[in-house]
Amino acid sequence: MPRWLAHTIVVAAFAGAIALAFWRVGYDWNWAAVWAYRQKFLQGWLTTVALSLAALFASITIGAVTALLMRSGVVLLESTARVYVELIRGTPLLVQLLIGFYVVASAVGLDNRYLVGTLVLALFSGAYMAEIFRGGLDAIPRAQLDSARAIGLDPWQTLRLVVLPQAVRIALPSVAGQLVSLIKDSSLLSVIAISEFTLNAQEVNSFTYSTLESYLPLAAGYLALTLPLSALSRWLERRFAYEAA
């Protein structure tokens, strides 16, 4: 059976089951009320796209730098990177957002909540990225480094030509998964009153009392971002595919 057909059948069966559940509870649909707010949905969705994109690039940069610091051989840098990763991964994003915005950002006089929110999100995701990248770097056998030294590569060439191309290949699926998480985690930015997708859906809900009509488009809007990302990741995996020798 071709894969697209299998996907279609599974999606149809799943949608059917959900539809059946809605029919059983006899939900009273009121799409018209929500439709009136379609501009608000679009504006929120675009904000989420912009925030996520910015946080995505920032978190990859932060993660790469942190992973390199972890292996720098300089105790203070390694310790800084480790403490950062453990603190961030060990605490809820909600707490980080509240402290980051109401305490840290206020203390330094930073009052652009979009900037602060994006930064906190990038720092949050960057800690996970750092661990993913570190895993990728650690997975390169020592023999590869020996080989690179033997042919006379310097440390920077070794990193660029030997280590990174292999580490990226190893880390790619996890990075894509983390980026999907990042997009969904951006919904928490609503707690510091950033007018992103989720906050707008909540507002529409409170205006119209049409809960599901507000939140179903929300789910669809996130899927519209995360599914292409997964597809892109699978395509990249195939492009970089090689078996370990």
Partner: protein, 250 residues
């Protein structure tokens, strides 16, 4: 090449914490004549691979001196890197870069380290790829090559930079007999063409064919060292005799 090693010491920290370091090379002494091929033999863990790594500029001894043709090996990493660029090293497990094709593995050092243009590098590797019957495999990744093909590509990668000498660390011990034969044949051809090398191997028949001198290394020292035929036929040392007996029985 005339190799002179004096008082070479190398210790490794014991993996068990708190224990004293393990001495792998224990004041090793070895002075060769002006020869083309030196073969190192001896039991596993005796120190021959560590010695080869030091000769290849990949490891630094704690004490002692090494000189090729009167020229001492450098000790600082930057100078060692310069030295490594003038020699070729082949490992037991090929160590090709798995994300690159065989051809790209060959081009990488030529372009990135030795400053050749892409076109000049391709021209440089074309003939050797043909000569060793590897041209048809040039665009395969290492995972698609047999063990023998991988090892021959690894030898070519070390060879095409035109090194002053080559270091080969048990290049056939990961291979089955048929592939061993094709790799040894290639090394034999290099020998005929005048390439100088230091080779660690357990293939005593091959050692007889290519070696000028053979040194037997055990417990971090040279136990016996002689011209190849003398070593194989007339060495009286009981450890060497016993080693040769068991190796030849295999």
């Amino acid at each position: 090449m005339k190799l002179a090693i004096h008082g070479l010491v190398r210790r490794f920290a014991d993996p068990g914490a708190g224990r004293p370091p393990v001495t792998v090379l224990d004041g090793l002494e070895l002075v060769t004549g002006d020869i083309a091929a030196l073969v190192l033999v001896g039991p596993s863990g005796g120190g021959k691979s560590t010695l080869l790594r030091i000769l290849a500029g990949l490891d630094v001894p704690a004490a002692g001196s090494v000189a090729f043709d009167g020229e001492p090996l450098p000790r600082e990493e930057a100078a060692l890197r310069g030295y490594r660029r003038t020699v070729g090293t082949v490992f037991q497990a090929y160590n090709l870069f798995p994300h690159l094709t065989a051809l790209e593995n060959l081009l990488l050092p030529l372009v990135q380290v030795h400053g050749l243009t892409e076109a000049a590098a391709r021209e440089r590797v074309r003939e050797p790829l043909e000569r060793f019957g590897l041209a048809a495999h040039a665009h395969k990744r290492p995972a698609e090559l047999s063990g023998g093909q991988k090892q021959r590509i690894a030898i070519l990668r070390a060879l095409v930079v035109q090194p002053r000498r080559m270091f080969l660390d048990e290049p056939t011990s990961a291979l089955d007999p048929e592939m061993t034969a094709e790799v040894l044949e290639m090394i034999g051809e290099l020998r005929t063409a005048g390439t100088q090398f230091v080779l660690v191997t357990h293939e005593m028949g091959f050692a007889r064919r290519v070696a000028d001198e053979i040194a037997f290394i055990a417990d971090g020292r040279v136990v016996a060292h002689a011209a190849a035929a003398d070593f194989l036929d007339r060495c009286a040392d009981p450890r060497v005799r016993s080693f040769l007996r068991t190796t030849l029985q295999q």
